[in-house]
């Protein structure tokens, strides 16, 4: 279904009631000075996939939670205006009475599971609707088939992978027969194949069942080609609903394909790789096959590499997590560690940080074996920012966290000046928590910095800040190893990429070679300019400006 059809159909049928309607909605939280949403009005129809775009703090989560009444019934605060969903006003209907029209799936689906088993979770919403048992059984079977969960029906929820959990969460609200599905960052924690599965499921729901799906996402490159319309929140409290091309023409937050289109002057702005490639023929003709890249710092710096991993074998109980892994990292390098969830990236990082001794083989960082050192000495050689930065926080204020770290305060001020000293660390956004954890780890000034999946929940602005910090570290002669499945970040910042699969290294080389080897998961610029090996919009911009 192409987008002009949708608009035409709506224009031709004015009596068709909108499924979701916001009327002059202004939302102010209890302790806040200013409203988060200001005078927001829009209408969403049936069978649409709406993408909500905006920087952190613009009110995306508030808007999504307002659709099913969690704001303000659950969170408190003051809501002016009306939100009407399928004819029901959220003023008079608390969330539990909207459970049969709106389904809400949060950022962490596992945090919303109430039962232990997949089948019980799917049936939970129906129990509260009081449906007769035969209807419940039939719907559970239908949803199991629709979402391809049939073979998981008796499994425990905490044993499922991230993508499977996301699908179970979607299924658990589908069984209630909802017409609107609201998802807050459904793919942020998933690796690319799992994200593709979830997005395929959502588009099928929109096209085959006529649901209205509203998604908030930071990683626009994954979702934007499926969006029927975009709801853009610029950050001043307003919201603008628009066709995707029009929205992307003006939005500061945009995926690489849009930035490339703006740079090259393509009109109307293409949103998918297929559309962009049609425009890109001329660009491909003018650019050389490879951009000029700085030579990777190599053995030319002389002496031992900073990190030498030889024949590392790591085991958890009876399963072998890493098999005969070899890795060298030189000073001044930024190495991206990529691979599916469960391929061993986190295990490798914990061994590099010295948290676990290797079962076989050796790990040498900065001339020492980190697992043999006491923690207070190990942090002088290697520091790790874990996947959950909030694990590091014990104090109840940012100042308390940085106490005792001499350069921590200045580092935080330079990284994230907007974070107040008195803020509670757990009240910060995902990006804020990451930057605080980074400030803590950078204050030890160890030669090797490790990061485990830092891009969860980060918007483009925060990612750019992170990339700038990592580049600065590399230029200062330190080394960074970064485990991520965000290929755009790897393309921006990594000089080398190592790919792990099933505990083994399957690729290890310059980022441009490794990342373009699989066209399906290469960065967007690489896919558009294939077979040329350009990775980022920045490289193209430099080449065009140079002449």
């Amino acid at each position: 279904m192409t987008r002009p059809d949708v608009a035409a159909r709506r224009a031709a049928d004015p009596g068709h009631p909108p499924v979701v309607e916001f009327r002059q909605v202004t939302m102010t939280y209890p302790d806040a000075d200013a409203p988060v949403l200001r005078d927001v009005s829009f209408e969403l129809g049936e069978g649409e996939l709406i993408l909500v775009v905006g920087p952190t703090g613009a009110g995306k989560s508030t808007l999504l939670s307002a659709i099913n009444g969690l704001v303000p019934h659950f969170t408190g605060g003051r809501l002016d205006g009306q939100v009407i969903v399928a004819g029901r006003d959220t003023r008079t209907h608390p969330p539990r009475e909207l459970a049969d029209v709106v389904g809400y799936v949060g950022q962490d689906p596992a945090a919303g599971f109430v039962t232990e088993v997949v089948e019980d979770e799917l049936a939970y919403a129906m129990e509260w609707l009081g449906l007769p048992p035969t209807v419940m059984r039939r719907r559970v079977e239908d949803v199991l088939d629709l979402l391809d969960l049939a073979r998981l029906r008796g499994r425990r929820l905490d044993e499922l992978s991230g993508g499977e959990q996301q699908r179970v969460a979607i299924g658990s609200v589908l069984t209630a027969g909802v017409r609107v599905l609201v998802l807050d960052e459904p793919t942020s924690a998933l690796d690319p194949p799992a994200a593709e599965e979830v997005l395929a499921v959502l588009t099928r729901l929109v096209h085959d069942l006529g649901l209205t799906v509203v998604i908030a996402e930071h990683r626009l490159e994954r979702v934007i080609q499926y969006a029927d319309r975009i709801l853009r929140l610029p950050g001043d409290g307003s919201a603008v609903l628009d066709e995707p091309s029009a929205a992307m023409a003006v939005s500061p937050l945009a995926p690489p394909v849009v930035h490339l289109a703006r740079l090259a002057g393509w009109h109307p702005v293409p949103l998918s790789i297929r559309e962009a490639r049609r425009y890109a023929a001329r660009l491909r003709a003018t650019l050389p096959p490879n951009p000029s890249r700085p030579t990777a710092p190599s053995r030319s710096l002389g002496g031992e590499p900073l990190v030498a991993v030889r024949d590392l074998v790591a085991r958890y109980g009876t399963t072998t997590a890493l098999r005969h892994v070899n890795l060298r990292v030189e000073r001044g390098e930024v190495v991206a560690l990529m691979g599916r969830n469960g391929s061993g990236k986190t295990t490798l990082l914990t061994h590099l940080a010295g948290l676990r001794p290797p079962a076989r083989g050796e790990v040498i960082v900065d001339g020492v074996r980190p697992h043999r050192l006491r923690p207070v000495e190990a942090v002088r050689h290697v520091t790790l920012v874990p996947a959950e930065p909030s694990d590091l926080f014990v104090a109840d204020s940012v100042a308390g966290e940085l106490r005792g770290l001499p350069r921590g305060r200045e580092l935080l001020r330079s990284l994230a000046p907007e974070i107040a000293d008195t803020a509670h660390p757990r009240d910060l956004s995902a990006g804020g928590q990451l930057l605080l954890a980074l400030a803590i780890m950078l204050s030890y000034d160890a030669p090797l910095l490790l990061l485990d999946e830092p891009t969860r929940g980060l918007d483009y602005a925060a990612k750019e800040r992170l990339a700038a910090i990592l580049r600065a570290r590399a230029e200062a002669g330190r080394a960074v190893v970064l485990a991520t499945h965000d290929v755009e970040l790897a393309a921006e910042v990594a000089t080398r990429t190592v790919v792990l699969a099933d505990g083994e290294v399957v690729a290890d080389g310059p980022t441009a070679e490794v990342v373009t080897a699989t066209p399906a998961f290469a960065p967007q610029v690489a896919r558009i300019l294939h077979p040329l090996r350009w990775l980022t919009v920045g490289e193209v911009r430099e080449a065009l400006e140079a002449g």
Partner: protein, 320 residues
């Protein structure tokens, strides 16, 4: 992990936070109305009988009372679970809020996890470390329910649903209830007088819990044993008390005193942060909130007309 929900703006300064803390010292998550209080009181009465019956049924002349006395442990094994079920059903009537249920479940899960780390079958001290601040911050009713559910939950996890369980449950419920009954020190919320009070209560609660569980165990363990330490249905209360004292000194005191001391130290060291964390969560959850009427506001000239139900003005409303 990043929250499902939008994060409200953080409070402006630490000073505001502190007064908010002390103001919350009076809020309760489960309101105890007269009927819930009555239910808890009656259940506690049965509980006191369930533990203290050896000191009650002394009678001259044996016969019927003696036969009943030997049945008493088994009778209470059946009655006490029923009583607990009834009182939980009555408290559950006020528990319909999802936030309370979720917080109960999560805190009970934490307590159960703590118990697998540090407790044995009869001991429950790590649980108290979480139970007492929760009872203090969230009220008596919540404390009672949390005590009962934590012990039940940890029994389910370890697979050990034994005959001691209903007695442990009600005793832990009393500990939580008592923590909620401690005096409100509004001026000292979060500071050392409150922590000291909790710490002392922790030591006392640990000792009493151990003694009470030992009292439960005593008639079972000593039937057929020598007089002087065994429960004697024909003797009067004072004699039985001395017998029990001998039994307690022989078996349990050596464990209970170090555990009570450990309890007190644990609460003194870590009770403050735990209390602050629970209060902060309760404030964020805004227990007891409900929509209140706000100030009516005229809409800004909406050309498409008024609301569907024909209201003239769009009324905002506030949840506190």
């Amino acid at each position: 992990m990043t929250s499902l929900l939008p994060r409200p703006a953080p409070p402006r300064s630490q000073a505001v936070q502190r007064t908010a803390d002390s103001a919350d010292a009076g809020r309760t998550a489960i309101r105890l109305r007269w009927r819930s209080t009555a239910a808890v009181t009656l259940a506690s009465l049965v509980g006191v009988l369930a533990f203290g019956w050896p000191f009650l049924s002394g009678v001259r002349g044996g016969g019927e009372a003696v036969a009943h006395a030997s049945d008493a442990p088994w009778v209470f094994l059946l009655i006490l679970p029923l009583v607990l079920v009834v009182v939980l059903a009555e408290l559950a009537d006020g528990l319909l809020d999802a936030k309370t249920v979720a917080m109960l479940g999560v805190l009970a899960g934490c307590g159960a996890a703590l118990r697998t780390f540090g407790g044995d079958v009869t001991g429950a001290s790590p649980v108290f470390f979480l139970l007492m601040p929760a009872g203090r911050a969230l009220g008596r009713g919540f404390g009672f329910t949390l005590g009962v559910l934590t012990l039940f939950g940890s029994a389910l996890i370890t697979g050990g649903v034994g005959p001691w369980l209903p007695f442990q449950m009600i005793a832990a419920g009393w500990v939580g209830f008592g923590a909620g009954c401690l005096p409100r020190l509004r001026r000292f919320a979060g500071r050392w007088p409150e922590i000291a009070m909790l710490s002392a209560y922790g030591a006392l609660a640990g000792l009493v819990y151990g003694a009470v569980m030992d009292l439960w165990f005593w008639p079972f363990q000593t039937t057929g044993l020598a007089p002087g330490i065994a429960y004697d249905p024909a003797a009067d209360a004072a004699t039985n008390l001395s017998h029990f004292a001998a039994f307690y000194l022989a078996t349990s005191l050596g464990f209970d005193v170090p555990r009570a001391v450990a309890n007190a130290v644990l609460v003194a060291v870590a009770g403050g942060p735990v209390l602050a964390a629970i209060r902060r969560a309760a404030r964020r959850a805004a227990f007891g909130s409900g929509p209140a009427r706000g100030i009516p506001r005229t809409p800004t000239g909406d050309p498409t007309g008024s609301a569907a139900d024909g209201e003239e003005r769009v009324r905002p409303w506030t949840c506190r």
